[in-house]
């Protein structure tokens, strides 16, 4: 068993002991006459127990979260120190290497040229009237592409030359009898960022006795350093945790006197615990937003915001070869926004009337027995996994729509269409709207209905003229919540709407949505610095903003409604 686990067990034992010590001491302090205590004996027990266990467990939790990172940092800085002599030697070689300097200089010049051409193109694009010259623009584009290709080639040559020199320095050092730790450090420091991470995690694995994907003398040397730091930190934490527990126990034990307000302290700690839980949830949300935001900013440094938000072409392909056609990809997200809007619109056209009317029937007309069975059944609809809806759309609704429209004389109707995805999504959303609206309608006070009936209004007059207007804000809130659900829905659309990023208002064509594209962009092998992958984060950010705005409006509306009738 690991040291940490043993320490955790010991702390638990001390915590339980602390409870009995605190309790017994409180009872003892008043000679068993517990009425004289400010707080019940148990509260004294809880108080001592909490201060025995809490700091120690917080420390252990911090170790669990940050321990690995600390070990990595320490290992890295130690290896860096070891490798400093070799790094210096490499720097010298790089400076004196004519070939490397030449490649770098060429790459810099070519980059500047690309930027200069880019400026020219910008000027030409924004020009008006006679100055407009599409042919010249075309030519510039061609030139820029060529310059860019040569620049990339020069950069790659420079990187290659550098790698050669690194290898040379490494093998010379090895021949000269440098230690494995020096070599490991050199390899680590010279490696690109992602490989550095890989190197360290391999070293960690080896140190923990697991088989690594690759093993080398350098890695083993690094692993020994890792193991050393791990042990040190582990024992340090173990001792500190025990000190915390014992210190807490002794300190709080001495506080237990009859007048001690243990209950208030315990209540405050419980409040703190509850606060912590809610803060944790909020922090998670903030973290998600920030991760989206930072990746999106990286994306927008390669693709301008205006092009992303207003561009009409979406084909996020990145070329495998530099001279491939359309190598830069197109990141105009308007077709995705339009596709999302189209499918949402179709879904709402299905869900709002059906959901609302069924809510009215359930709340105003249906007998209690019908209501008791119908409402749960309707809510089961909400519990069906969306994948199953996807099957239904793909295998049943899609072909049916194609059959119907072919019969009506339309040509080339596809199975995967916005219509089939929208219809099925609408069905999925019905229970959302009907259940929420039903609640809202039910919460319209009976006195309003009575008032209307007493005026001689019929049931339908009462519903359309009194109940609906009273429930309207809540219903609008329900619909907005349903819209944000529809906007965020993915599975049905992936399966049933196809993947073509068509900019169309025709529901019989296949379209694609924001969510589907995020899935497409992030599944499979990806490099996390290409615009293709990063665009997924920008899309996610847009999606987040849309649903956030919708939810805020919905909650506002619902809130205003509540104020009125409670």
């Amino acid at each position: 068993m690991s040291v940490i686990a043993i320490v955790a067990l010991m702390v638990i034992v001390m915590l339980a002991g602390g409870f009995y010590v605190g309790r017994a001491r409180a009872i003892g302090a008043v000679n068993g006459n517990t009425v004289r205590l400010h707080s019940l004996p148990n509260y004294h027990g809880y108080y001592v127990a909490i201060w025995t266990g809490l700091p120690a467990f917080l420390l252990l939790a911090a170790y669990g979260i940050f321990g690995g990172q600390a070990v990595e940092r320490l290992t890295f800085s130690e290896l860096q120190r070891e490798a400093s002599a070799l790094n210096a030697r490499l720097e010298e070689r790089l400076l004196s290497d004519a070939e490397y300097e030449e490649f770098r200089g060429a790459a810099l010049q070519l980059r500047e040229r690309v930027n200069a051409i880019g400026d020219d193109m910008q000027r030409l694009r924004s020009a008006r009237g006679e100055e407009r010259d599409p042919a010249r623009l075309e030519q510039l584009q061609q030139e820029q592409r060529e310059a860019l290709n040569s620049a990339t080639a020069a950069e790659e040559a420079a990187i290659g030359r550098r790698a050669e020199l690194v290898a040379a320095v490494g093998s010379e050092a090895e021949a000269a009898g440098a230690s494995m730790r020096q070599l490991a450090g050199f390899e680590l420091v010279q490696a690109p960022r992602e490989q550095r991470q890989l190197f360290l995690s391999d070293a960690m694995q080896i140190a923990n006795g697991a088989l690594s994907s690759r093993e080398s003398a350098e890695l083993n040397a690094a692993a020994r350093i890792v193991a050393r730091y791990q042990d040190r930190i582990r024992y340090f934490v173990a001792v500190l945790a025990l000190v915390f527990a014992a210190g807490g126990l002794l300190r709080t034990r001495s506080q237990v006197i009859p007048d001690f307000r243990a209950r208030n302290h315990v209540e405050r700690l419980i409040t703190g615990l509850l606060l912590l839980s809610s803060v944790l949830a909020i922090l998670t949300t903030v973290g998600i937003v920030f991760s989206l935001l930072f990746e999106s900013i990286r994306f927008f440094s390669t693709v301008p915001v205006s092009e992303f938000l207003f561009g009409l072409q979406w084909s996020p392909q990145i070329a495998l070869r530099a001279d491939q056609v359309g190598q830069s990809g197109a990141f105009g997200a308007v077709p995705l926004f339009a596709g999302t809007a189209l499918i949402t619109l179709i879904a709402m056209a299905v869900a709002v009337p059906i959901g609302l009317l069924s809510a009215i029937y359930l709340s105003e007309y249906a007998g209690p027995r019908f209501r008791a069975t119908a409402k749960p059944v309707l809510e089961i609809l909400a519990g069906i996994p969306t994948v199953v809806y996807g099957f239904f759309a793909l295998l049943t609704v899609g072909p049916a729509i194609r059959g119907l429209f072919t019969w009506l004389g339309f040509d080339d109707v596809v199975t995967q269409s916005a219509l089939s995805a929208g219809l099925v999504m609408g069905v999925m959303i019905i229970p959302f709207i009907s259940s929420l609206s039903d609640d809202v309608i039910n919460s319209v006070p009976q006195t309003l209905r009575d008032g209307s009936y007493a005026m001689g209004a019929t049931r339908s007059e009462t519903i359309t003229r009194v109940v609906m207007p009273a429930a309207l804000p809540g219903i609008v809130g329900a619909i907005l919540l349903a819209v944000s659900r529809a906007v965020g829905e993915t599975m049905i659309v992936v399966m049933a709407a196809g993947q073509g990023a068509n900019l169309t208002a025709n529901p019989l064509e296949s379209v694609t949505t924001i969510t589907v594209q995020i899935v497409m962009l992030l599944t499979g092998d990806q490099e996390f610095d290409s615009p293709k992958t990063l665009s997924a984060f920008a899309l996610g950010l847009v999606l987040f903003v849309i649903t956030l705005i919708m939810n805020v409006i919905a909650l506002r509306v619902v809130q205003r409604y509540r104020e009125k009738y409670d």
Partner: protein, 271 residues
């Protein structure tokens, strides 16, 4: 029980000559909710153009009887009404009577002010609109204005008819609801504890209004306040445990009750 009833009817018949004609005549009205008896053989004659107060402890059946008069018990599931109940000689519980038509002539004001979530104007215009009483916009404006005037609310809201009805104060809301009831020109107005949610000043205004409305309508008011019954009504009926115990001139009931239960209730010995 038969003795008791004849006694009530006799007493009632006593002021036949000088008093206005009988508007509502009930004979052996019984109400049961889900088989549980709430009202037992109530027989009563309520005169027109006067205020009749129903008093009695909670659960005595006074509101239940009130709701029989405009068939509001129909909206409650499991409610069963038997016996004969005539307004102007027409049987209320008759199958051929459409409750919608009946309720157009029997208005009702509830315990809690319940203005609809509409403007002040639309609240008052609600009844005339659903019954098609106004032929033109001018007509409707006239009905709204006269109803609000009759309810004593016109001066306070004339310049903000488009504000929501819920923006008024509690007492104003209750007068708005009365204006709404008057707008369809009913013959009988039922009031179910109309002041129980109001402060004394608003209550005084409503009572004043009830006193004015008495000139033109048959008003039946359920109240828990015996002072209110004494102030606004000409006749008082005391209900207890689902039966009508005593009915007569208000001053007689309060100064010289015949039944010991009435005596106990008005002197505050129970209830």
């Amino acid at each position: 029980m038969p003795d008791n009833q004849s006694h009530i009817l006799d007493q009632n018949a006593g002021f036949g000559e000088t008093e206005p004609p009988i508007k509502v005549a009930a004979r052996d009205v019984c109400v049961a909710y889900d088989g549980k008896q709430a009202l037992n053989h109530v027989s009563i004659d309520i005169p027109d153009r006067s205020v009749t107060a129903f008093i009695g402890p909670s659960g005595c059946g006074k509101s239940t009887f009130l709701r029989c008069l405009n068939r509001m018990n129909d909206t409650i599931e499991g409610a069963r009404v038997t016996g004969s109940l005539k307004i102007d000689g027409a049987e209320v519980n008759d199958k051929s009577i459409d409750p919608v038509v009946l309720r157009a002539s029997v208005g009702m004001v509830f315990q809690k002010p319940n203005p609809f979530p509409k403007s002040i104007y639309d609240n008052v215009a609600y009844g005339p609109r659903i019954h098609g009483l106004a032929l033109s916009r001018n007509d409707l404006d006239g009905i709204v204005e006269s109803s609000l005037k009759k309810a004593g609310l016109w001066e306070e809201v004339a310049d903000r008819l488009n504000d929501p009805g819920t923006s008024l104060s509690g007492g104003q809301q209750q007068r708005l609801v009365i204006a709404r009831a008057i707008a369809i020109n009913p013959e009988v107005i039922l009031m179910d504890e109309p002041c129980s949610a109001l402060d004394p000043i608003a209550t005084a205004k409503i009572e004043e209004l009830i006193d004015e409305l008495r000139e033109n309508y048959c008003i039946i008011i359920v109240t828990h306040s015996m002072q209110q019954a004494a102030r606004v009504s000409q006749r008082t009926a005391f209900f207890h445990m689902g039966t009508l115990v005593e009915f007569g001139r208000t001053e007689d009931i309060f100064t010289n009750p015949r039944d010991p239960r009435t005596q106990d209730y008005i002197t505050g010995r129970f209830g």
